[in-house]
């Protein structure tokens, strides 16, 4: 690991993510841990999107679909477990579950399938169509979840107890936080490896120049589709964790506002940067808490900040802190 400014920054952020919650345990501020967990889960969602957006250049304005699918997977399974009603009785008996290790793969698989279908349809055309179509599919899930009253409809679904993880007491905030942080670190590692792999190279090239990719004998569409599926799966996992954190799932997890917000995390942090999504999510959650405490119209300031960043400083905050240096390894 070379000592670059970006690597130092990443290290500092990681250290912060470890030390701040520990400090919160010492001074007995559990709410800070909840905030930190929220930031980490949002980071994970954004890391997912960044694979499609930052690496692949796919402007997906409907990533909340996967967030919501992950959340509802967790929610529906938990609902059936806590109410002792099986999910299916015929042809085979499937009951609910509150085991994280069962819920997570399921959430990821369901999100991946949705990403495959949506990606397949949306990648038929590029550019603006892709943006509009992903936005539209997000809306579709949103309205569907509102009208499907079996799982709460507009009011959402409450989950009584946090899901279980072997050897860990997940009801203790710092322990649940540790799980989420571990997953985020794993996702960041996967992201980093992916970016440097053959696949990552081709994906990044596909983002910059599809003609070039075709003329070396590769199909940019399949590459982007696979990236979109991976991206959806990771964001789906974040959704499952989010539902677990809040012990609540609702259609707002599918909303266009959330899709936009996940994208905003990445832009604030820095789109091409590994820790961009993380820094952006942390800043967002911090602003939401502090500015939101001062004014309920704090989103205006977020809007202004976003506008200024887009118009004047595309590298986001990481870019600002680290300069134009880029590691090409």
């Amino acid at each position: 690991m070379i000592l670059t400014r970006e690597n130092i920054l990443n290290f500092v952020i990681t250290a912060g993510l470890i030390l701040v919650p520990i400090y919160a345990v010492i001074v007995e501020e559990p709410f800070t841990i909840t905030l930190a967990t929220r930031a980490v889960i949002f980071s994970l969602a954004a890391v997912g999107l960044n694979i499609a957006l930052g690496l692949g250049g796919m402007v997906s304005l409907g990533h909340a679909v996967f967030f919501g699918l992950g959340g509802y997977t967790m929610g529906i399974l938990a609902f059936h477990a806590q109410s002792y009603i099986p999910l299916f009785e015929w042809p085979i008996l499937i009951e609910g579950t509150k085991q994280m290790l069962v819920v997570w793969p399921l959430a990821m698989i369901i999100s991946a399938i949705a990403a495959f279908v949506i990606g397949l349809l949306s990648l038929r055309t590029g550019g603006v169509y892709f943006i509009m179509i992903t936005l539209a599919f997000g809306q579709m899930f949103f309205f569907f979840s509102i009208s499907w009253s079996a799982y709460g409809g507009e009011d959402g679904l409450s989950i009584y107890v946090r899901n279980q993880f072997p050897l860990v007491n997940t009801l203790v905030p710092i322990q649940f936080y540790a799980i989420c942080l571990a997953i985020l670190m794993l996702a960041l590692w996967i992201n980093a490896r992916l970016a440097k792999s053959s696949f990552g190279l081709a994906l990044s090239a596909a983002r910059q120049n599809t003609a070039r990719v075709r003329n070396v004998g590769l199909d940019p569409k399949s590459i982007k589709l696979v990236a979109f599926v991976i991206s959806g799966a990771i964001t789906g996992l974040a959704g499952a964790l989010f539902a677990d954190l809040n012990r609540f799932v609702s259609p707002t997890m599918f909303s266009w506002q959330l899709s936009g917000e996940i994208m905003v995390f990445i832009i604030i942090g820095g789109i091409g940067r590994l820790y961009g999504p993380v820094l952006g999510a942390i800043i967002f959650v911090t602003l939401e808490h502090f500015l939101g405490g001062i004014s309920e119209y704090w989103l205006v300031f977020l809007g202004l900040l976003l506008l200024l960043i887009v118009l004047f400083s595309r590298g986001g905050l990481v870019g600002l802190l680290v300069g134009r240096e880029r590691v090409h390894e």
């Binding site: 055309t125 579709m140 499907w148 832009i267 976003l306 595309r314």
Partner: protein, 320 residues
């Protein structure tokens, strides 16, 4: 009456001609307002290559302008004019301040910047007007029903909406095909560079086109606001529907926007009424309604998906 009875007997469902006709008209009405939204969007994209998420905010601005004007003057007509002009002016202002910096940027930047505008507009409006919906009343004169030649009663106001929408369609068609401005609008990007070299003020053209789109959005917002309500966030669901219309119709095509909008309006309205009824034929009442309306909410997106499979560039879109 005899036809309705035999239909009832064969279908087992109470489906009268009156209900059907009424729903078709409702579908047309919602479709045509979608067209007004989508036309502005597709025009802006066709001419300037800009995807504008803030179009829904302009819809909202129009509705609020109308509500404010109606409260102040008591005149619905003035309210509509205020909506049109107010939204156009706001649009013009936003174009000169923010939008014009985005024409040369990639779509991601446009999306983010206009998303930022949504936040600013929405929260800003909430700050000034509060979170509770305002009400814009349809004047009593046109609030009542009228007897239509096909044998049903239908609200005058909704017919007026359809009428206004058709006028907008006609007006746009005339503008684009019969005027010099229309030629400038129809010019491809390269031709535009050419006519700029010949002295045409492209910057003013873009501002004007944006203002037209904004004004149309505002008008739609006011017209629909009188039927539903005027509140923050009313524009975005319509915006996304307008996107569906554009995807179906083909981006850059006003004709596509018209056909697409009518299709979406009819599918949404008729689907929402008849799908639950259809399900009731072989399912228990409450489940049928629940599942039927859930599926109906997805219908237009399924329609969009089907068209994407068969014709990715939209019904009237240009290939490639």
């Amino acid at each position: 009456m005899g036809a309705a009875n035999s239909c009832t007997q064969t279908c087992g469902v109470f489906m009268s001609f009156a209900l059907f006709a009424e729903q078709v008209l409702n579908g047309l009405q919602s479709g045509i307002m979608l067209f007004v939204m989508a036309a502005g969007l597709t025009l802006i994209f066709g001419v300037m290559g800009l995807i504008n998420l803030a179009h829904g905010s302009l819809y909202m601005v129009g509705a609020f302008a109308a509500a404010a004007a109606a409260a102040w003057t008591g005149s619905f007509l003035l309210a509509l004019i205020a909506a049109l002009i107010g939204a156009a002016l706001v649009g013009m202002f936003v174009e000169m301040l923010v939008i014009r910096r985005l024409y040369d940027r990639d779509h991601l930047d446009q999306v983010l910047a206009t998303f930022a505008l949504i936040l600013i507009f929405s929260e800003g409006t909430r700050f000034f007007f509060g979170s509770f919906p305002l009400f814009l009343d349809v004047p009593k004169v046109i609030a009542g029903p009228i007897n239509l030649p096909i044998g049903i009663e239908y609200p005058v106001y909704r017919l007026i909406i359809i009428g206004v929408g058709l006028c907008v369609a006609l007006g746009l068609w005339l503008l684009i095909s019969k005027t010099r401005l229309g030629v400038q609008i129809r010019a491809g990007k390269n031709d535009r560079e050419m006519i700029a070299a010949l002295g045409v003020n492209i910057s003013a053209l873009y501002t004007f086109v944006f203002a037209i789109g904004a004004g149309l959005a505002g008008l739609a917002g006011a017209l629909v606001g009188a039927i539903q309500s005027v509140q923050v966030g009313m524009g975005e669901p319509v915006l996304i529907l307008a996107f569906v219309v554009i995807v179906i119709g083909g981006i850059g095509s006003i004709k596509g926007a018209f056909i697409g909008a009518i299709l979406v309006g009819l599918t949404d309205t008729l689907g929402g009424i008849f799908l639950p009824e259809l399900f009731k034929l072989f399912m228990e009442g409450s489940i049928a309604t629940s599942l039927g309306s859930a599926l109906a909410s997805m219908l237009i997106y399924i329609l969009m998906a089907v068209i994407l499979v068969c014709r990715p560039q939209g019904l009237f879109g240009v290939e490639g």
